[in-house]
Subunit: 463 residues, 2 copies
């Protein structure tokens, strides 16, 4: 029996206790958004720290201006062993509206579903459940072999659900401590489906810009001024209304500079996933896709950039009517970016576009809220190879190499500050409802996750 | 000495007491928008009723579901005399923000200005001051001749500042009582400038429509759905952004149906007024006119229809950023209409326009808030002729026949229900600030108003 097989056997023997640990962690309402739960966040951090310490990790709970970071390392594998940085978060989303939950969100329930038993609780999958898969894998290796097969650093933050305001400063400040790790391992993404594992090989970046358009020095009466005075809302909608052409392409000059087409092989691989955009949209009451006409759904969702107006306001929004010509109007626009696009270039292009499409008197001002490039992981990376092998062995299926339409800022931070790629190997399902009532994680997925992490460590260590 | 000259002499002799009456009326804070001032509204109505009774009017204070209407008639001039319906309102706008007033808004001050003394108070001009000009004219005729030279009905409402919700039902209910009047006389508009009188010969109408656009069945995450799912704000701005063409014309099909060009004579007359759009816009911080490129400023402001988005909303409007794809967005749009346009036709055209410019999945719904046609007064009407002669004699200047960019719903109501035109002969100035702190009315304008009304009655009666 190989090392890995022994560890898998041990993991199965102790499976119930791994689930128990996970459930105990879920009982701690570590809601980072609510200061009333600060003590719970500390308790949740301490819980993980205790688990890590029990496996021989050197553990520190490092205070930040917000919630503490659990920083732990286990270098027993020796200088020659590969060095992995596991990242996750112990904080969870608020649970409200509470009345939509079938049970107390912090009293985890095991409920039977179409894929067998599932755990229902806030944080079941995001991210405590996913973190618990690799903590359990460490435990199985430790209990079987008395050590870990790789050098491992763990970084667990407690503010992911509020935008990780203190994470990047933390990484910068602890750069030396984190240096030398060769890849970040993150379980916060999904499988393709219940039977098919997935690695997320690209994430879209984002430029988020707020624009304000100011016309007259005060609000005006449309009877007195209509037909002569600039209307800020008319001008703003006229400009923003031209963001896309008839083919769904974004009309900002230079918007597609640097965007590369995916390979034919990639196209074929995605084609074979059998994604139904009809079903995807049908679930939310839609039937006709928007976006670039000449691209497949998965391209549009994963590797093509977008422009979405996320908010707009101006003038009178109350009941009834008011014949005001608003002096000012504003909008928030986000651009999902893909590898090759420069966020600064996109923002500059947007400003230029707006200036070119508003009347002479319109005064524009901009606030930049976020700015991160899209990223593609080098799939030739040996850790990606190890993960593919582990997933193939565990699921007996070729893992899908998928894209992520959203942004995962920590991935960009790790690359920029530490110079390392991230391996995004997650075990969630599309219907897990991570930020909603009755969040759940399939126990089948938890098991696959645990076992895949066991196998991955074996692969990485060449065992 | 003619009758009119005697009456003018008497008016001058009693001028101080006319001003005193006006100021006493201003002391009553008859704010219709605030139920705490209901008793004040009744007091203000009773004040006017008393003045009218003292001149031999038969007066009724008629309750309505809101503020009472003062309805009075004086038919002493006999069956053969012309019958005039004087309309005005005794309610005023709220006075806040109080801190921006130089004195108590309901303690009228006489303050020296560039045109001599002026009265500063809430309601100074709108509409108590203007109504006081014709009440004083009646009084001067009555005190001089013991009667009035025409049959006169007075309708003073107390809800003009809150949109006259009970006026039309009142007119309909009292149609028989009001029947036979040949013209409505309204003083609630402006002179052209301090030296030049004006009659308002046209008012724009209005169609006010609210549109809601619904996309997905719920708000979506732009990372997960961006590039595939319909964004309600994108779709709404795209449609509304096409409301105008590059020449400033409204692109709704049939929008200009029935709109007639003004005559060359009218163009020349307006040209001679020397209106400076540069100054008009400069005062509100603008320099470049919007609207139809090929039309003069006064045409655009008075007799050309417009489309203004008066409010827009959707998605996230708070601080910072949120990457939401909104399920719904909405906007309020008003169309200022001119004679010849059918409001129903415009609303239907707008709905058609929206339907043609949104994606297949977008569900549109509409709320119609207001709907009144534009109106032009027949300037060949003999009462208009009498007013022109009176103003010419009083100011020694040709009165300007001007348009009003706003809507005066009562004018449309009188035409529709009673079949009569309105004579809009007002004495305000552009800087009177009727709805703002330090509202004022020039005593010079009040005097011209009083004397012009005296002259007008003389002209009408052929005296």
């Amino acid at each position: 029996m190989s090392h890995t097989d022994s560890v898998l056997t041990r993991a199965e023997q102790d499976f119930e206790s791994h689930v128990t640990s996970w459930l105990d962690w879920l009982r701690i309402p570590s809601i980072s958004a609510n200061p009333a739960h600060n003590a719970d966040c500390q308790t949740a951090a301490a819980f993980a720290a205790r688990e890590l310490a029990a496996m021989g990790f050197t553990v520190e709970i490092v205070p930040t201006p917000g919630q503490p970071v659990v920083l732990a390392s286990h270098f027993g594998a020796g200088e020659a062993a590969p060095h992995l940085l596991y990242y996750g978060h112990y904080d969870v989303q608020p649970a409200d509206p509470l009345e939509l939950w079938d049970a107390d969100p912090f009293a985890p329930q095991i409920v039977e579903g179409p894929h067998g038993p599932r755990v229902v609780a806030r944080g079941a999958v995001d991210d405590k459940g996913q973190v618990a898969t690799w903590l359990a894998a460490f435990r199985a290796w430790f209990d079987t072999t008395g050590g870990l097969p790789a050098r491992i650093t763990v970084l667990l933050e407690g503010e992911e659900e509020i935008g990780s305001p203190n994470l990047e400063p933390f990484i910068v400040a602890h750069r030396d401590r984190l240096a030398g790790s060769e890849i970040a391992v993150i379980s916060d993404t999904n499988q393709w489906d219940i039977d098919t594992p997935a690695l997320t090989a690209s994430v879209r970046g984002m430029a988020y810009v707020e624009v304000r358009l100011k016309g007259a020095s005060r609000d005006l009466h449309s009877g007195m001024y209509g037909g002569s005075a600039l209307n800020a809302i008319n001008a703003l909608t006229r400009a923003l209304g031209q963001l896309h052409d008839d083919q769904g392409r974004v009309r900002i000059p230079g918007f597609y500079d640097g965007v590369e087409d995916i390979s034919e092989a990639q196209k074929a691989a995605w084609q074979s996933l059998g994604f139904s955009e009809h079903d995807f949209l049908g679930e939310i009451g839609l039937s006709v896709p928007v976006g670039e006409r000449d691209r497949s759904a998965l391209e549009r969702l994963w590797v093509r950039p977008t422009a979405d107006i996320n908010g707009i306001w101006g003038g009178y929004q109350g009941p009834g009517s008011k014949t005001v010509i608003a002096a000012e109007a504003g909008a928030k626009i986000s651009f999902r970016l893909v590898p090759g696009q420069s966020p600064a270039h996109i923002v500059a292009g947007f400003k230029q576009f707006m200036a070119a499409h508003v009347p002479a008197d319109a005064q524009l001002s901009f606030i930049e809220h976020a700015n991160a490039p899209g990223l593609a992981i080098d799939t030739a990376n040996r850790f990606v190879g190890a993960a593919r092998a582990a997933l193939q062995a565990e699921f007996n299926r070729t893992p899908a190499l998928i894209g992520c339409g959203g942004s995962i800022p920590v991935v960009e931070g790790f690359r920029r500050v530490l110079g390392i790629d991230s391996l995004m190997m997650g075990f969630g399902l599309a219907d897990d409802k991570p930020h909603s009532p009755n969040e759940k994680f399939e126990i089948a997925c938890f098991r696959h996750g645990l076992r895949s992490h066991v196998r991955f460590l074996g692969e990485v260590a060449g065992l």
